[in-house]
Symmetry: C2
Subunit: 149 residues, 2 copies
DNA sequence: GCAAACTCGTCAGGTTCCTGTCAATCATGG
DNA sequence: CCATGATTGACAGGAACCTGACGAGTTTGC
């Protein structure tokens, strides 16, 4: 009761952390029914919108490292959900593509995740939901600004 | 440029994750000058507002496990920033208290963290900042609701 | 009063992720 | 044209965290 409302007193970062942890637990609960982990789902989300990404690009988009992304993609590859193929022009990089099974599983999992997120936001007004997204987009942009100092 | 603005397309959870990661990197950068890690600072924050908390209470407040909190407190204890003392009534629990050095270090680190957070929010209107907090508080509350199902 | 259920701190084991490094490859500037 | 720097994927090693379990202690319900 008190550990989530006043514990982060005055430190916005920890409030953001609690939101992320809570939402991750929610979508993790949905994804287990599809045999996917949260990072794996994130990778499928990226590859669905931008096929042919490399490991490094996925890592940057997910906010993790190349190694973690590499192991995660290996897991997806073991389940025949994605494929690695040599990049046509860059001989260092590998193109990642979702398989037919990967796309099918992803498009079944995505609605479940979206629905769960909407359930969490059910009690909020459209204005507040929009403002929350606006605030997060602005903060994310401000955070990437500071990285290049 | 594009990896933080459209990558989370439609999935709010990942947007929240990027915000948390960015803000954590920011305050982590400030805390290294004081020799503190982010979880250690979080623990000092909790203990400053509620002295005498137990390990388990700190773990719940920080959104982590008893073991992680235990090891973290051991680190703080090694630097003489907190003390463990037996609980007066509950013989299982241990009371955690900040030492004088712990309070002094914390009250030097807290303004640095606050200032860094304000810098990140510098370009936002007061209304948007307030709305962001309101959205996160509501989401955190909704997430703890779902946990007891 | 007492047994069952719960919570405390702790230990062991395993998983996940990160840092640091490497050869290979691409990009950039003189 | 070529040297320097940056990037990609991979490899080791370690740090941080979690799950599962345990004895000890407390709370709850009958």
């Amino acid at each position: 009761m008190s550990h989530s409302e006043k514990a982060d007193y005055g430190v916005v970062s920890f409030l953001a952390r609690h939101v992320w942890l809570g939402m991750r637990a929610a979508i993790e609960d949905e994804l287990t029914e599809f045999g996917l982990t949260v990072p794996q789902f994130a990778t499928l989300l990226m590859l669905d919108h931008a096929p042919g990404m490399s490991i490094a690009e996925v890592a940057r988009a997910c906010g993790t490292t190349r190694q973690a992304a590499n192991e995660m993609v290996a897991g997806l590859q073991a389940h025949d959900l994605v494929t690695r193929s040599p990049h046509p022009t860059d001989r260092r990089a590998q193109q990642l593509h979702t398989t037919e099974a990967g796309r099918e599983l992803f498009h079944k999992a995505l609605p479940a995740v979206r629905r769960r997120e909407e359930e969490l936001e059910a009690g909020l007004s459209p204005q507040l939901r929009s403002a929350g997204r606006e605030w997060m987009l602005a903060m994310a942009a401000a955070c990437v600004m500071q990285e290049k100092d």
